[in-house]
């Protein structure tokens, strides 16, 4: 059922995109003056059309395949969805999304320590204090190694004191 819903959603979304969001700005006049050019919308539109055809076939295939399948109902789908929302994987996804949001304001060191701690707990580490220490030390070490020594840029954070801390780490060597 999930597969069918995803395919239908994709179909509708692509259809909507085809008519509204292929081009987001005006094509320069000088470009269109030349009759030999390929219009910038041709390539994406061709791909979307091919996709719509393939997805339509796929939807028919899925429905055919699942004819008579007792689990192929909205009710079963609802039950499975509820189960998924309670799974560790879903919590893992939430942790990752939160981490990607706090990365810019809090910077790499804090985000990395929090992410490592949260995910380590989720994966079943029981000694939370050991995990916390490792997470903090590792986050600091990674920041020093990548940002300070290798010159790979990492977010410093926008909160002033966290930013100064990141700068302090980067300039240790």
């Amino acid at each position: 059922m999930f597969e069918l819903i995803c395919n239908v959603f994709l179909f509708v979304f692509l259809g909507y995109t085809y008519f509204t969001h292929v081009l987001e700005a005006k094509v320069p006049k000088s470009y269109l003056k030349n009759p030999n050019v390929l219009h910038p919308s041709v390539w994406p539109k061709a791909i979307i059309i091919l996709l719509l055809i393939c997805i339509a076939i796929n939807i028919v295939k899925i429905i055919k395949k699942n004819k008579g399948n007792p689990d192929f109902t909205f009710k079963a789908f609802g039950k499975n969805s509820l189960e998924f929302l309670k799974s560790r994987m879903f919590i893992g996804m939430v942790v990752l999304v939160v981490a990607s949001f706090i990365l810019e304001p809090l910077g790499f060191v804090v985000t990395a320590a929090l992410l490592m701690f949260a995910y380590g707990m989720l994966l079943g580490e029981k000694k939370w204090w050991r995990l916390a220490i490792v997470a903090c030390v590792l986050a600091v070490l990674l920041h020093i190694a990548f940002s300070g020594l290798l010159g790979v840029s990492l977010p410093r954070g926008t909160v002033p004191f966290l930013r100064s801390f990141s700068l302090f780490l980067e300039n240790l060597f």
């Binding site: 390929l38 996709l51 996804m93 490592m116 079943g124 840029s153």
Partner: protein, 519 residues
């Protein structure tokens, strides 16, 4: 200078009284470690190496940088195997078999094969380049936009045989990848497309974050739900021990033809600028799968798969040096960094280099040869150390992979890159349920931009019209851009044969009676 003299001058440049040789070893160690760190691309490794070359003369500088360049590309396979983080798109196929092997506790063997295959591929292309540099770089110039499109399209056509069990969903995946590649400013007129008003999408989908998300993050998410891993208190999945045993001679001997075939294909495809390495590694992986006596084992963790991918992508990256030295046209970003470093040292790159300063050409190729030989010893030592990381329990290893993935994505695509990585990681899970193919999405994304660019360029130059195009003109333009030159006509015919193979193959099999049992 004849070949013999060039060989001697190259050797003496690399030996450099012993000190230079030591510097080469240092460069290999640095390059392998840089390459193995996510977030440090081969380009960055070369840029980092630049600091060491400020006081060197031009010849030692190019020797040092070439050694870093070659070894960093090889180092990239280490993370692909251990953590499923491919540092570059061309090592994506390495994860198909490398990661399952590492999961089984055979990390040492997987890394050993990857390094040896890389060395063989690199060595092969360096030798070919050394002997044929000038004619090859001239040949590369013969490729026009239409030919380049045909070759890139051939890389895409591989999709059809990537997973013959699920052709329709594989095609959908590839098309989705192509559509993702359209996001951002279009290659010809610079018009924003499919950005939904988000300025952060203007620069398009960054490849590396998508790659890391779809491969590494999805894998960690999947492991999060596995009950077995969570209950196993000591060493998860690999019993706290990592087998760093290297592959046996017998095993290596069994992949000799794989290595040879993939080195040849990699070298040929690699001379073409752009995505040579990615096309080569996907092409060789699929080719070996089709030629294999046991195709069903591909993807489950066999050394043939790793060898195919690594031999070909290293052979291809070696080829990138040829246009740089012979024509002054860098074949990739890392080569461009080297070019600017050498320009500062007064090296005149271009067609005259061979006549005026042939020592650069010989030094580069001899360095590539020496590096690829030394690398086997040096890098295997480093790989053994890295392989120990797998002994760390998963509740530490999983989060560490996530942190490394974050660093890699941020360095390639900034804060947007991290968001893209997270979304790609979640999409990777959905993709599994939809029976789509992540590798096909990546292939579409990597090659999509190039495909469109080359096609548009060829289209514009084919069948010139002076007034508004009619349907006939349109068709003529398309036909001429696809089949206008002998090279493109041959390659496009091959593509069409490949694309139609699911339709005619059943008949062919029926006639020949050679029907392999499905996996």
């Amino acid at each position: 200078m004849n070949l013999g003299e060039m060989f001697v001058s190259g050797l003496s440049a690399v030996w450099g009284g012993g000190t230079m040789f030591l510097m080469v070893v240092v460069a290999i160690v640095l390059g392998t470690i840089f390459g193995a760190l996510p977030g440090v691309s081969a380009t960055m490794a070369v840029a980092l190496g630049l600091t060491f070359t400020y006081t060197m003369g031009p010849v030692p500088a190019i020797v040092f940088l070439t050694a870093i360049y070659c070894s960093s590309i090889t180092g990239g396979s280490i993370t692909a195997i251990l953590f499923k983080i491919p540092g570059v798109p061309s090592s994506a196929p390495t994860t198909f078999d490398g990661y399952p092997m590492a999961q089984r506790g055979e990390a040492g063997k997987a890394l050993g094969v990857a390094l040896l295959a890389s060395a063989v591929g690199g060595l092969f292309s360096a030798l070919v380049m050394f002997l044929l540099a000038t004619p090859l770089s001239k040949a590369a110039l013969a490729f026009g936009n239409g030919d380049m499109f045909a070759i890139t399209f051939l890389g895409l056509s591989i999709l059809i045989v990537l997973d013959t069990e699920h052709i329709l969903t594989t095609i959908i995946s590839g098309l989705l990848g192509l559509l993702l590649a359209c996001i951002g400013q279009d290659p010809m007129a610079g018009v924003a497309r499919l950005t939904f008003g988000q300025t952060s999408l203007l620069s398009g989908m960054e490849m590396i974050p998508v790659l890391i998300g779809l491969f590494a993050v999805t894998e960690v998410l999947k492991q999060t739900n596995t009950k077995k891993r969570l209950s196993a208190e000591d060493g998860v999945g690999n019993k706290g021990k990592v087998n760093t045993k290297m592959p046996t001679m017998k095993e290596l001997w069994s992949i000799k033809f794989t290595l040879l075939r993939c080195s040849i294909v990699g070298t040929v495809v690699g001379i073409l600028p752009g995505a040579g390495a990615t096309i080569a590694s996907f092409m060789c992986y699929t080719m070996e799968n089709k030629l294999s006596k046991y195709p069903e084992k591909f993807g489950t963790g066999i050394i043939d798969g790793i060898a195919a991918s690594e031999a070909s992508n290293n052979a291809a990256t070696g080829g990138a040096m040829v246009p740089l030295l012979c024509l002054g046209i860098p074949g990739g970003n890392a080569a461009a960094v080297m070019a600017s470093a050498l320009a500062l040292k007064g090296v005149q790159m271009g067609p005259r280099l061979l006549n005026v300063q042939p020592e650069f050409l010989s030094a580069t190729f001899i360095t590539m040869i020496v590096t690829n030989i030394l690398m086997v010893i040096v890098a295997i030592g480093i790989a053994k150390v890295f392989a120990q990381i797998l002994a760390v329990p998963y509740y530490y290893l999983g989060p560490i992979i996530l942190l490394l993935a974050t660093i890699g994505s941020f360095s390639e695509g900034n804060i947007v890159g991290v968001s893209v990585m997270v979304i790609a990681g979640i999409v990777g899970i959905i993709v599994k349920y939809m029976h789509l193919n992540s590798a096909a999405i990546v292939l579409g994304l990597v090659l999509g931009g190039m495909c469109e660019k080359y096609f548009s360029q060829a289209f514009q130059k084919a069948h010139i019209v002076t007034a508004q195009m009619g349907f006939g003109d349109y068709a003529a333009k398309v036909f001429e851009s696809l089949f206008g030159s002998p090279i493109s006509a041959i390659v496009m015919t091959a593509c069409i044969l490949l694309l139609l193979s699911p339709i005619y193959m059943p008949f062919v099999k029926k006639i020949t009676g050679k029907n392999k049992p499905a996996a």
